[in-house]
Protein backbone atom coordinates (compact mmCIF):
# COMPACT_ATOMS: atom_id res chain seq x y z
CA UNK A 1 0.00 0.00 0.00
CA UNK A 2 1.04 3.58 -0.52
CA UNK A 3 1.91 5.75 2.43
CA UNK A 4 -1.24 7.83 1.85
CA UNK A 5 -3.47 4.99 3.00
CA UNK A 6 -3.82 4.41 6.71
CA UNK A 7 -5.85 1.25 6.30
CA UNK A 8 -4.26 -1.98 7.42
CA UNK A 9 -5.78 -3.93 4.56
CA UNK A 10 -4.46 -7.31 5.71
CA UNK A 11 -6.09 -6.80 9.12
CA UNK A 12 -9.33 -5.72 7.41
CA UNK A 13 -9.28 -8.80 5.18
CA UNK A 14 -9.01 -11.05 8.22
CA UNK A 15 -12.45 -9.80 9.28
CA UNK A 16 -14.08 -11.07 6.05
CA UNK A 17 -14.10 -14.89 5.99
CA UNK A 18 -15.59 -14.96 2.48
CA UNK A 19 -12.36 -13.53 1.07
CA UNK A 20 -10.72 -16.88 1.86
CA UNK A 21 -13.17 -18.64 -0.44
CA UNK A 22 -11.87 -20.51 -3.40
CA UNK A 23 -13.61 -20.41 -6.75
CA UNK A 24 -12.58 -23.71 -8.30
CA UNK A 25 -8.87 -23.80 -7.42
CA UNK A 26 -8.43 -20.00 -7.39
CA UNK A 27 -8.65 -17.61 -4.46
CA UNK A 28 -11.58 -15.23 -4.74
CA UNK A 29 -10.74 -11.68 -5.83
CA UNK A 30 -13.95 -9.81 -5.06
CA UNK A 31 -14.13 -6.71 -7.25
CA UNK A 32 -17.90 -6.23 -7.19
CA UNK A 33 -18.56 -4.15 -4.07
CA UNK A 34 -20.45 -1.53 -6.06
CA UNK A 35 -23.12 -4.23 -6.50
CA UNK A 36 -22.94 -5.41 -2.91
CA UNK A 37 -20.19 -5.38 -0.32
CA UNK A 38 -19.06 -8.31 1.79
CA UNK A 39 -19.84 -8.35 5.53
CA UNK A 40 -17.25 -8.47 8.30
CA UNK A 41 -17.64 -10.95 11.19
CA UNK A 42 -18.50 -8.01 13.47
CA UNK A 43 -21.74 -7.39 11.52
CA UNK A 44 -22.70 -11.05 11.33
CA UNK A 45 -21.93 -11.47 15.03
CA UNK A 46 -24.01 -8.43 16.06
CA UNK A 47 -27.02 -9.79 14.17
CA UNK A 48 -26.53 -13.26 15.59
CA UNK A 49 -26.26 -11.93 19.12
CA UNK A 50 -29.40 -9.86 18.72
CA UNK A 51 -31.35 -12.76 17.20
CA UNK A 52 -30.25 -15.27 19.82
CA UNK A 53 -30.60 -12.95 22.80
CA UNK A 54 -33.09 -10.12 22.24
CA UNK A 55 -35.31 -10.96 19.28
CA UNK A 56 -38.84 -9.54 19.57
CA UNK A 57 -41.07 -7.14 17.69
CA UNK A 58 -40.53 -3.47 18.45
CA UNK A 59 -42.61 -0.62 19.87
CA UNK A 60 -45.55 -2.68 21.14
CA UNK A 61 -44.57 -5.40 23.58
CA UNK A 62 -44.09 -4.61 27.24
CA UNK A 63 -41.87 -7.60 27.87
CA UNK A 64 -38.11 -7.39 28.33
CA UNK A 65 -37.25 -8.68 24.90
CA UNK A 66 -39.63 -6.21 23.26
CA UNK A 67 -37.98 -3.38 25.14
CA UNK A 68 -34.48 -4.56 24.24
CA UNK A 69 -35.41 -4.91 20.58
CA UNK A 70 -36.91 -1.42 20.53
CA UNK A 71 -33.81 0.04 22.14
CA UNK A 72 -31.58 -1.76 19.63
CA UNK A 73 -33.67 -0.60 16.66
CA UNK A 74 -33.90 3.02 17.79
CA UNK A 75 -30.24 2.93 18.77
CA UNK A 76 -29.40 1.95 15.20
CA UNK A 77 -31.42 4.90 13.95
CA UNK A 78 -29.46 7.27 16.19
CA UNK A 79 -26.20 5.69 15.00
CA UNK A 80 -27.13 6.31 11.35
CA UNK A 81 -28.12 9.92 12.10
CA UNK A 82 -24.80 10.59 13.80
CA UNK A 83 -22.88 8.94 10.94
CA UNK A 84 -24.35 11.23 8.27
CA UNK A 85 -24.42 14.40 10.36
CA UNK A 86 -28.22 14.54 10.66
CA UNK A 87 -29.57 16.91 13.28
CA UNK A 88 -32.14 14.49 14.65
CA UNK A 89 -32.57 10.69 14.60
CA UNK A 90 -36.25 11.12 13.69
CA UNK A 91 -35.09 12.41 10.29
CA UNK A 92 -33.83 8.89 9.52
CA UNK A 93 -36.44 6.59 7.94
CA UNK A 94 -35.54 2.93 7.55
CA UNK A 95 -36.59 1.44 4.23
CA UNK A 96 -35.87 -1.79 2.37
CA UNK A 97 -33.12 -0.22 0.21
CA UNK A 98 -32.28 2.94 -1.75
CA UNK A 99 -34.89 2.12 -4.37
CA UNK A 100 -37.67 2.12 -1.80
CA UNK A 101 -36.31 5.31 -0.21
CA UNK A 102 -36.44 7.16 -3.54
CA UNK A 103 -39.89 5.79 -4.33
CA UNK A 104 -41.04 7.01 -0.92
CA UNK A 105 -39.99 10.53 -1.95
CA UNK A 106 -41.52 10.28 -5.43
CA UNK A 107 -44.81 8.97 -4.04
CA UNK A 108 -45.02 11.92 -1.66
CA UNK A 109 -45.47 14.02 -4.80
CA UNK A 110 -47.84 11.58 -6.43
CA UNK A 111 -50.04 11.14 -3.37
CA UNK A 112 -50.20 14.93 -2.94
CA UNK A 113 -52.11 15.06 -6.24
CA UNK A 114 -55.14 13.55 -4.47
CA UNK A 115 -54.86 15.73 -1.35
CA UNK A 116 -56.26 19.27 -1.68
CA UNK A 117 -54.57 20.26 1.59
CA UNK A 118 -51.15 18.95 0.55
CA UNK A 119 -48.07 21.12 1.05
CA UNK A 120 -47.43 23.24 -2.07
CA UNK A 121 -43.84 21.96 -2.31
CA UNK A 122 -45.26 18.57 -3.29
CA UNK A 123 -47.88 19.81 -5.74
CA UNK A 124 -46.86 18.64 -9.17
CA UNK A 125 -48.65 18.97 -12.51
CA UNK A 126 -48.32 20.09 -16.13
CA UNK A 127 -45.84 22.96 -16.41
CA UNK A 128 -43.80 21.75 -13.43
CA UNK A 129 -40.42 20.16 -13.94
CA UNK A 130 -38.40 17.41 -12.27
CA UNK A 131 -34.64 17.19 -12.88
CA UNK A 132 -32.33 14.17 -12.75
CA UNK A 133 -29.09 13.39 -14.61
CA UNK A 134 -28.29 11.13 -17.52
CA UNK A 135 -25.95 9.08 -15.30
CA UNK A 136 -28.58 7.85 -12.83
CA UNK A 137 -28.99 4.29 -11.70
CA UNK A 138 -32.51 3.25 -12.76
CA UNK A 139 -33.49 3.56 -9.08
CA UNK A 140 -33.16 7.33 -9.29
CA UNK A 141 -34.60 7.66 -12.78
CA UNK A 142 -37.68 5.48 -13.11
CA UNK A 143 -39.54 6.67 -9.96
CA UNK A 144 -39.25 10.28 -11.20
CA UNK A 145 -39.94 9.39 -14.82
CA UNK A 146 -43.11 7.54 -13.86
CA UNK A 147 -44.13 10.33 -11.50
CA UNK A 148 -43.88 12.79 -14.40
CA UNK A 149 -45.84 10.51 -16.73
CA UNK A 150 -48.62 10.22 -14.14
CA UNK A 151 -48.79 13.87 -13.13
CA UNK A 152 -48.12 15.54 -16.48
CA UNK A 153 -44.95 17.20 -15.16
CA UNK A 154 -41.87 17.29 -17.40
CA UNK A 155 -38.73 15.26 -16.71
CA UNK A 156 -35.48 17.02 -17.58
CA UNK A 157 -31.92 15.88 -17.12
CA UNK A 158 -28.37 17.11 -16.87
CA UNK A 159 -26.26 15.49 -19.59
CA UNK A 160 -22.87 13.78 -19.45
CA UNK A 161 -19.67 15.06 -21.08
CA UNK A 162 -17.42 12.77 -23.14
CA UNK A 163 -15.10 12.63 -20.13
CA UNK A 164 -17.90 11.17 -18.00
CA UNK A 165 -18.64 14.30 -15.96
CA UNK A 166 -21.91 16.18 -15.51
CA UNK A 167 -22.60 18.75 -18.20
CA UNK A 168 -23.03 21.81 -15.97
CA UNK A 169 -22.49 24.57 -18.55
CA UNK A 170 -26.19 24.95 -19.27
CA UNK A 171 -27.35 24.20 -15.72
CA UNK A 172 -29.48 27.35 -15.56
CA UNK A 173 -31.47 26.20 -18.58
CA UNK A 174 -32.08 22.73 -17.15
CA UNK A 175 -32.98 23.91 -13.65
CA UNK A 176 -35.47 26.75 -13.92
CA UNK A 177 -38.20 28.50 -11.95
CA UNK A 178 -40.47 25.65 -13.04
CA UNK A 179 -38.30 23.01 -11.32
CA UNK A 180 -39.95 21.52 -8.23
CA UNK A 181 -37.42 18.84 -7.33
CA UNK A 182 -33.92 17.78 -8.37
CA UNK A 183 -32.69 14.29 -7.50
CA UNK A 184 -29.20 13.40 -8.65
CA UNK A 185 -26.59 10.76 -8.11
CA UNK A 186 -23.71 11.59 -5.78
CA UNK A 187 -21.34 8.93 -7.10
CA UNK A 188 -22.31 7.25 -10.39
CA UNK A 189 -22.49 3.46 -10.21
CA UNK A 190 -21.38 2.79 -13.79
CA UNK A 191 -19.02 5.69 -14.50
CA UNK A 192 -17.51 6.06 -11.04
CA UNK A 193 -17.86 9.83 -11.28
CA UNK A 194 -18.02 11.72 -7.97
CA UNK A 195 -20.33 14.60 -8.73
CA UNK A 196 -19.73 18.06 -7.32
CA UNK A 197 -22.91 19.11 -5.51
CA UNK A 198 -22.58 22.79 -4.58
CA UNK A 199 -23.42 24.26 -7.98
CA UNK A 200 -26.61 22.20 -8.26
CA UNK A 201 -27.73 22.79 -4.66
CA UNK A 202 -27.09 26.54 -5.04
CA UNK A 203 -29.16 26.64 -8.22
CA UNK A 204 -31.92 24.62 -6.48
CA UNK A 205 -32.08 27.21 -3.70
CA UNK A 206 -32.17 30.01 -6.26
CA UNK A 207 -35.28 28.61 -7.93
CA UNK A 208 -36.86 27.29 -4.73
CA UNK A 209 -36.70 23.59 -5.69
CA UNK A 210 -36.18 20.65 -3.36
CA UNK A 211 -32.89 18.84 -3.93
CA UNK A 212 -31.81 15.33 -3.00
CA UNK A 213 -29.04 12.83 -3.59
CA UNK A 214 -28.87 9.17 -4.44
CA UNK A 215 -25.99 8.51 -2.06
CA UNK A 216 -25.90 4.72 -2.52
CA UNK A 217 -22.32 4.78 -3.83
CA UNK A 218 -21.04 7.66 -1.68
CA UNK A 219 -22.06 6.97 1.94
CA UNK A 220 -20.14 3.64 1.97
CA UNK A 221 -16.97 5.18 0.56
CA UNK A 222 -16.42 8.74 1.80
CA UNK A 223 -17.43 11.09 4.60
CA UNK A 224 -20.99 12.30 3.89
CA UNK A 225 -22.49 15.05 6.03
CA UNK A 226 -26.04 16.02 5.10
CA UNK A 227 -25.79 19.37 6.86
CA UNK A 228 -22.62 20.31 4.99
CA UNK A 229 -24.09 19.14 1.69
CA UNK A 230 -27.10 21.41 2.15
CA UNK A 231 -29.56 19.00 0.55
CA UNK A 232 -33.16 18.18 1.49
CA UNK A 233 -32.99 14.39 1.28
CA UNK A 234 -30.60 11.51 0.58
CA UNK A 235 -31.05 7.79 0.03
CA UNK A 236 -28.59 4.97 0.63
CA UNK A 237 -28.56 1.25 1.36
CA UNK A 238 -27.04 -1.00 4.03
CA UNK A 239 -25.70 -3.82 1.91
CA UNK A 240 -23.25 -1.64 -0.02
CA UNK A 241 -21.63 -0.41 3.24
CA UNK A 242 -20.67 -3.74 4.85
CA UNK A 243 -24.17 -4.13 6.31
CA UNK A 244 -26.95 -6.63 5.57
CA UNK A 245 -29.41 -6.62 2.67
CA UNK A 246 -33.01 -5.63 3.37
CA UNK A 247 -32.32 -2.29 5.01
CA UNK A 248 -31.90 1.14 3.47
CA UNK A 249 -32.21 4.71 4.61
CA UNK A 250 -34.09 7.80 3.58
CA UNK A 251 -32.86 10.87 5.37
CA UNK A 252 -34.96 14.00 4.88
CA UNK A 253 -35.28 17.27 6.75
CA UNK A 254 -37.81 17.07 9.58
CA UNK A 255 -40.15 19.74 8.21
CA UNK A 256 -40.22 17.93 4.88
CA UNK A 257 -41.09 14.56 6.43
CA UNK A 258 -43.84 16.26 8.43
CA UNK A 259 -45.34 17.69 5.26
CA UNK A 260 -45.13 14.48 3.24
CA UNK A 261 -48.08 12.11 2.90
CA UNK A 262 -47.22 8.50 3.80
CA UNK A 263 -46.07 6.00 1.17
CA UNK A 264 -46.95 2.54 2.51
CA UNK A 265 -49.77 2.32 5.04
CA UNK A 266 -50.67 -0.27 7.67
CA UNK A 267 -49.44 -1.31 11.08
CA UNK A 268 -47.13 0.82 13.21
CA UNK A 269 -47.58 4.03 11.23
CA UNK A 270 -50.80 5.27 12.79
CA UNK A 271 -52.02 7.52 15.54
CA UNK A 272 -55.69 6.45 15.65
CA UNK A 273 -57.76 4.30 13.34
CA UNK A 274 -61.49 3.92 12.78
CA UNK A 275 -63.29 2.05 10.02
CA UNK A 276 -63.68 5.34 8.15
CA UNK A 277 -60.38 7.15 8.64
CA UNK A 278 -56.87 7.16 10.09
CA UNK A 279 -54.56 9.75 11.51
CA UNK A 280 -50.89 9.07 11.08
CA UNK A 281 -47.99 8.87 13.47
CA UNK A 282 -45.20 11.44 13.30
CA UNK A 283 -42.11 10.71 11.22
CA UNK A 284 -40.22 8.45 11.09
CA UNK A 285 -42.94 5.98 12.17
CA UNK A 286 -45.32 7.47 9.57
CA UNK A 287 -43.08 6.00 6.86
CA UNK A 288 -42.32 2.65 8.45
CA UNK A 289 -45.50 0.62 7.99
CA UNK A 290 -45.34 -2.99 9.09
CA UNK A 291 -42.65 -4.81 11.04
CA UNK A 292 -39.35 -3.26 9.98
CA UNK A 293 -36.01 -5.04 9.38
CA UNK A 294 -34.96 -5.12 13.04
CA UNK A 295 -31.97 -7.47 13.04
CA UNK A 296 -30.85 -5.74 9.84
CA UNK A 297 -30.90 -2.36 11.61
CA UNK A 298 -28.67 -3.87 14.29
CA UNK A 299 -26.36 -5.14 11.57
CA UNK A 300 -26.28 -1.76 9.86
CA UNK A 301 -25.29 -0.06 13.12
CA UNK A 302 -22.48 -2.60 13.53
CA UNK A 303 -21.33 -1.88 9.97
CA UNK A 304 -21.24 1.83 10.77
CA UNK A 305 -19.19 1.13 13.89
CA UNK A 306 -16.78 -0.84 11.72
CA UNK A 307 -16.52 1.90 9.09
CA UNK A 308 -16.04 4.56 11.75
CA UNK A 309 -13.26 2.56 13.33
CA UNK A 310 -11.45 2.42 9.98
CA UNK A 311 -12.19 6.11 9.45
CA UNK A 312 -14.09 7.38 6.42
CA UNK A 313 -11.18 9.65 5.42
CA UNK A 314 -8.84 6.64 5.48
CA UNK A 315 -11.30 4.67 3.37
CA UNK A 316 -11.50 7.50 0.85
CA UNK A 317 -7.67 7.68 0.65
CA UNK A 318 -7.40 3.91 0.21
CA UNK A 319 -9.94 3.92 -2.60
CA UNK A 320 -8.31 6.88 -4.32
CA UNK A 321 -5.13 4.82 -4.40
CA UNK A 322 -7.06 1.79 -5.72
CA UNK A 323 -8.73 3.93 -8.40
CA UNK A 324 -5.40 5.35 -9.55
CA UNK A 325 -3.81 1.91 -9.72
CA UNK A 326 -6.80 0.35 -11.47
CA UNK A 327 -6.95 3.09 -14.10
CA UNK A 328 -3.21 2.93 -14.74
CA UNK A 329 -3.14 -0.86 -15.04
CA UNK A 330 -6.30 -1.19 -17.12
CA UNK A 331 -5.20 1.57 -19.51
CA UNK A 332 -2.13 -0.53 -20.25
CA UNK A 333 -4.29 -3.38 -21.61
CA UNK A 334 -4.42 -3.32 -25.40
CA UNK A 335 -7.97 -2.92 -26.74
CA UNK A 336 -9.44 -1.89 -23.39
CA UNK A 337 -11.42 1.32 -23.22
CA UNK A 338 -12.45 2.99 -19.96
CA UNK A 339 -16.04 4.29 -19.87
CA UNK A 340 -15.98 7.21 -17.44
CA UNK A 341 -13.34 9.58 -16.06
CA UNK A 342 -9.81 8.40 -16.88
CA UNK A 343 -8.09 10.27 -14.06
CA UNK A 344 -8.41 9.40 -10.36
CA UNK A 345 -9.74 12.83 -9.45
CA UNK A 346 -13.40 13.23 -8.52
CA UNK A 347 -13.69 9.52 -9.07
CA UNK A 348 -14.46 6.39 -7.10
CA UNK A 349 -12.68 3.03 -7.32
CA UNK A 350 -15.41 1.78 -9.67
CA UNK A 351 -14.10 1.39 -13.20
CA UNK A 352 -16.21 0.32 -16.19
CA UNK A 353 -14.63 -0.69 -19.45
CA UNK A 354 -15.13 -2.36 -22.79
CA UNK A 355 -12.57 -4.86 -24.05
CA UNK A 356 -12.05 -5.17 -27.81
CA UNK A 357 -15.30 -6.52 -29.26
CA UNK A 358 -15.68 -9.15 -26.59
CA UNK A 359 -19.06 -9.13 -24.91
CA UNK A 360 -18.83 -8.30 -21.18
CA UNK A 361 -20.79 -11.44 -20.37
CA UNK A 362 -17.97 -13.46 -21.86
CA UNK A 363 -15.32 -11.34 -20.15
CA UNK A 364 -17.05 -11.87 -16.79
CA UNK A 365 -17.31 -15.61 -17.32
CA UNK A 366 -13.60 -16.06 -18.04
CA UNK A 367 -12.68 -13.79 -15.13
CA UNK A 368 -14.89 -15.89 -12.87
CA UNK A 369 -12.99 -18.98 -13.92
CA UNK A 370 -9.89 -17.17 -12.64
CA UNK A 371 -11.65 -16.46 -9.33
CA UNK A 372 -12.25 -12.80 -10.13
CA UNK A 373 -15.74 -11.45 -9.45
CA UNK A 374 -16.71 -8.39 -11.49
CA UNK A 375 -20.08 -7.09 -12.64
CA UNK A 376 -21.06 -7.25 -16.30
CA UNK A 377 -24.05 -5.79 -18.09
CA UNK A 378 -25.72 -2.40 -18.15
CA UNK A 379 -25.48 -1.93 -14.36
CA UNK A 380 -29.06 -0.63 -14.16
CA UNK A 381 -27.90 2.46 -16.04
CA UNK A 382 -29.07 1.89 -19.61
CA UNK A 383 -29.20 5.58 -20.53
CA UNK A 384 -25.54 5.91 -19.50
CA UNK A 385 -24.65 2.94 -21.72
CA UNK A 386 -26.56 4.54 -24.56
CA UNK A 387 -24.76 7.86 -24.02
CA UNK A 388 -21.44 6.09 -24.60
CA UNK A 389 -22.74 3.90 -27.42
CA UNK A 390 -22.22 0.61 -25.64
CA UNK A 391 -24.61 -2.21 -24.87
CA UNK A 392 -22.90 -3.30 -21.71
CA UNK A 393 -19.63 -2.92 -19.83
CA UNK A 394 -17.43 -4.90 -17.49
CA UNK A 395 -17.10 -3.16 -14.14
CA UNK A 396 -14.49 -3.68 -11.44
CA UNK A 397 -15.13 -1.96 -8.12
CA UNK A 398 -12.92 -1.77 -5.05
CA UNK A 399 -13.53 -1.32 -1.36
CA UNK A 400 -11.76 -1.47 2.00
CA UNK A 401 -10.55 -5.03 1.52
CA UNK A 402 -9.16 -4.84 -2.01
CA UNK A 403 -5.47 -4.85 -2.90
CA UNK A 404 -3.16 -4.00 -5.79
CA UNK A 405 -2.47 -7.71 -6.14
CA UNK A 406 -6.14 -8.37 -6.95
CA UNK A 407 -6.03 -5.70 -9.65
CA UNK A 408 -2.89 -7.33 -11.05
CA UNK A 409 -4.79 -10.61 -11.21
CA UNK A 410 -7.63 -8.87 -13.06
CA UNK A 411 -5.25 -7.48 -15.66
CA UNK A 412 -3.54 -10.82 -16.07
CA UNK A 413 -6.86 -12.63 -16.48
CA UNK A 414 -7.86 -10.20 -19.22
CA UNK A 415 -4.98 -11.74 -21.18
CA UNK A 416 -6.74 -15.08 -20.76
CA UNK A 417 -9.97 -13.55 -22.07
CA UNK A 418 -8.04 -12.32 -25.10
CA UNK A 419 -6.70 -15.84 -25.70
CA UNK A 420 -10.16 -17.42 -25.77
CA UNK A 421 -11.85 -14.76 -27.89
CA UNK A 422 -8.94 -13.15 -29.78
Amino acid sequence: MEAASKLDVEAVRADFPILQRRIGDKTLAYLDSAATSQKPVQVVEAMRRFTEHSNANISRSVHTLGAEATVAYEGARARVAEFIGAGNPSEVVFTKNSTEAINLMAYAFQNAVFDPSADSRFKLGPGDEVVVTEMEHHANLIPWQQLCLRTGATLKWIGITDAGRLELENLNEVITERTKVISFVHVANLLGTVNPTSQITARAREVGALVGLDASQSVPHMPVDVTELGVDFIAFTGHKMLGPTGIGVLWAKADLLDAMPPFLTGGSMIETVSMERTTFAKAPAKFEAGTPPIAEAVGLAAAIDYLDKLGMENIRAHEKDLAAYMLEQLESVDGLEIIGPRVPIGRSATVSFTFADIHPHDVGQILDAEGIAVRVGHHCAKPTCERFGVNATTRASGYVYNTHEEIDRLVEALGQVRKVFG
Binding site: P360, H361, D362
Partner: protein, 152 residues
Protein backbone atom coordinates in the same frame (compact mmCIF):
# COMPACT_ATOMS: atom_id res chain seq x y z
CA UNK B 1 -14.93 -24.60 -13.35
CA UNK B 2 -14.32 -26.13 -16.74
CA UNK B 3 -14.50 -23.29 -19.21
CA UNK B 4 -13.86 -25.55 -22.20
CA UNK B 5 -17.15 -27.21 -21.46
CA UNK B 6 -18.97 -23.87 -21.63
CA UNK B 7 -17.12 -22.34 -24.54
CA UNK B 8 -16.90 -25.33 -26.84
CA UNK B 9 -15.14 -24.87 -30.16
CA UNK B 10 -18.44 -25.24 -32.01
CA UNK B 11 -19.96 -22.39 -29.97
CA UNK B 12 -17.03 -20.08 -30.63
CA UNK B 13 -17.20 -21.01 -34.32
CA UNK B 14 -20.89 -20.08 -34.59
CA UNK B 15 -20.21 -16.90 -32.60
CA UNK B 16 -17.44 -15.80 -34.95
CA UNK B 17 -19.24 -16.93 -38.12
CA UNK B 18 -22.98 -16.75 -37.48
CA UNK B 19 -25.12 -18.62 -40.04
CA UNK B 20 -28.16 -17.01 -41.56
CA UNK B 21 -27.64 -13.63 -39.88
CA UNK B 22 -29.31 -10.47 -41.17
CA UNK B 23 -32.94 -9.49 -41.57
CA UNK B 24 -34.66 -10.61 -44.75
CA UNK B 25 -37.97 -10.31 -46.63
CA UNK B 26 -40.52 -11.77 -46.92
CA UNK B 27 -41.73 -12.59 -43.43
CA UNK B 28 -45.06 -12.91 -41.67
CA UNK B 29 -43.94 -12.65 -38.04
CA UNK B 30 -41.31 -10.57 -36.30
CA UNK B 31 -40.25 -10.57 -32.65
CA UNK B 32 -37.92 -8.41 -30.60
CA UNK B 33 -36.56 -9.94 -27.40
CA UNK B 34 -34.21 -8.54 -24.79
CA UNK B 35 -32.43 -10.11 -21.88
CA UNK B 36 -32.99 -7.46 -19.20
CA UNK B 37 -30.11 -8.63 -17.04
CA UNK B 38 -27.41 -8.09 -19.64
CA UNK B 39 -29.00 -6.00 -22.38
CA UNK B 40 -28.65 -8.64 -25.10
CA UNK B 41 -31.14 -8.09 -27.91
CA UNK B 42 -32.45 -9.93 -30.94
CA UNK B 43 -34.89 -9.05 -33.70
CA UNK B 44 -36.02 -12.18 -35.52
CA UNK B 45 -38.28 -12.76 -38.50
CA UNK B 46 -40.05 -15.92 -39.61
CA UNK B 47 -41.27 -16.67 -43.10
CA UNK B 48 -43.72 -19.57 -43.20
CA UNK B 49 -44.73 -21.26 -46.46
CA UNK B 50 -46.70 -24.51 -46.96
CA UNK B 51 -46.34 -25.51 -43.30
CA UNK B 52 -42.59 -25.03 -43.48
CA UNK B 53 -40.18 -22.57 -41.88
CA UNK B 54 -39.11 -21.12 -45.23
CA UNK B 55 -36.74 -18.58 -43.66
CA UNK B 56 -35.55 -17.43 -40.25
CA UNK B 57 -33.62 -14.18 -40.34
CA UNK B 58 -32.27 -12.20 -37.44
CA UNK B 59 -30.20 -9.30 -36.23
CA UNK B 60 -28.74 -9.51 -32.73
CA UNK B 61 -26.25 -8.04 -30.29
CA UNK B 62 -25.05 -10.07 -27.39
CA UNK B 63 -22.58 -12.45 -25.87
CA UNK B 64 -21.03 -15.49 -27.53
CA UNK B 65 -23.63 -17.83 -26.04
CA UNK B 66 -26.67 -15.90 -27.27
CA UNK B 67 -25.23 -15.20 -30.71
CA UNK B 68 -24.00 -18.74 -31.24
CA UNK B 69 -27.30 -20.15 -30.07
CA UNK B 70 -29.25 -18.11 -32.64
CA UNK B 71 -26.88 -19.30 -35.36
CA UNK B 72 -27.22 -22.96 -34.37
CA UNK B 73 -30.98 -22.57 -34.21
CA UNK B 74 -31.00 -21.21 -37.75
CA UNK B 75 -29.21 -24.29 -39.03
CA UNK B 76 -31.49 -26.56 -37.10
CA UNK B 77 -34.90 -25.23 -38.05
CA UNK B 78 -34.53 -23.37 -41.32
CA UNK B 79 -36.38 -25.35 -44.00
CA UNK B 80 -37.99 -27.83 -41.60
CA UNK B 81 -41.70 -28.15 -41.04
CA UNK B 82 -43.22 -25.89 -38.41
CA UNK B 83 -44.05 -28.93 -36.30
CA UNK B 84 -40.46 -30.20 -36.42
CA UNK B 85 -39.18 -26.75 -35.49
CA UNK B 86 -41.51 -26.65 -32.50
CA UNK B 87 -40.29 -30.08 -31.44
CA UNK B 88 -36.67 -28.88 -31.60
CA UNK B 89 -37.63 -25.83 -29.58
CA UNK B 90 -39.15 -28.06 -26.90
CA UNK B 91 -36.15 -30.38 -26.90
CA UNK B 92 -33.61 -27.57 -26.68
CA UNK B 93 -35.56 -25.83 -23.91
CA UNK B 94 -35.60 -29.08 -21.96
CA UNK B 95 -31.84 -29.47 -22.43
CA UNK B 96 -31.26 -25.92 -21.17
CA UNK B 97 -33.38 -26.61 -18.09
CA UNK B 98 -31.50 -29.84 -17.31
CA UNK B 99 -29.01 -28.20 -14.90
CA UNK B 100 -26.14 -30.15 -16.41
CA UNK B 101 -27.90 -33.52 -16.07
CA UNK B 102 -28.51 -34.09 -19.77
CA UNK B 103 -26.10 -34.37 -22.67
CA UNK B 104 -28.74 -33.88 -25.33
CA UNK B 105 -29.53 -36.09 -28.32
CA UNK B 106 -26.96 -35.29 -31.00
CA UNK B 107 -28.99 -37.05 -33.73
CA UNK B 108 -31.78 -34.59 -33.17
CA UNK B 109 -30.13 -31.42 -31.86
CA UNK B 110 -26.87 -31.60 -33.86
CA UNK B 111 -24.58 -28.67 -32.98
CA UNK B 112 -27.03 -27.50 -30.30
CA UNK B 113 -25.85 -30.26 -27.94
CA UNK B 114 -22.74 -28.10 -27.49
CA UNK B 115 -24.91 -25.94 -25.24
CA UNK B 116 -25.46 -28.77 -22.74
CA UNK B 117 -22.69 -27.28 -20.58
CA UNK B 118 -24.51 -23.93 -20.50
CA UNK B 119 -27.35 -25.54 -18.54
CA UNK B 120 -25.03 -25.66 -15.51
CA UNK B 121 -24.81 -21.88 -15.44
CA UNK B 122 -28.24 -20.50 -14.49
CA UNK B 123 -27.14 -16.98 -15.37
CA UNK B 124 -26.37 -18.04 -18.94
CA UNK B 125 -29.40 -20.20 -19.75
CA UNK B 126 -31.39 -17.11 -20.67
CA UNK B 127 -28.65 -16.14 -23.13
CA UNK B 128 -28.89 -19.49 -24.88
CA UNK B 129 -32.69 -19.35 -25.05
CA UNK B 130 -33.06 -15.75 -26.23
CA UNK B 131 -33.09 -16.54 -29.96
CA UNK B 132 -35.40 -19.52 -29.45
CA UNK B 133 -37.85 -17.39 -27.49
CA UNK B 134 -37.82 -14.87 -30.33
CA UNK B 135 -38.55 -17.67 -32.80
CA UNK B 136 -41.42 -18.97 -30.70
CA UNK B 137 -42.94 -15.50 -30.44
CA UNK B 138 -42.40 -14.66 -34.11
CA UNK B 139 -44.02 -17.92 -35.12
CA UNK B 140 -47.12 -17.16 -33.07
CA UNK B 141 -47.32 -13.79 -34.78
CA UNK B 142 -46.78 -15.34 -38.22
CA UNK B 143 -49.53 -17.86 -37.65
CA UNK B 144 -51.87 -15.14 -36.48
CA UNK B 145 -51.27 -13.32 -39.74
CA UNK B 146 -51.79 -16.30 -42.08
CA UNK B 147 -55.49 -16.96 -42.56
CA UNK B 148 -56.75 -20.50 -42.79
CA UNK B 149 -53.90 -22.21 -41.02
CA UNK B 150 -55.34 -24.83 -38.67
CA UNK B 151 -52.82 -27.60 -38.19
CA UNK B 152 -50.49 -25.95 -35.61
Amino acid sequence: MNLDELYQEVILDHYKRPRGAGLREPYEGESHQVNPTCGDEITLRVHVEDGKVADVSYDNVGCSISKASASVMYELINGTTVNDALAKLAEFTELMNSKGQSEGDEDSLEDAVAFAGVSKYPMRVKCALLGWMAFKDALVRAEASIPGRTDA
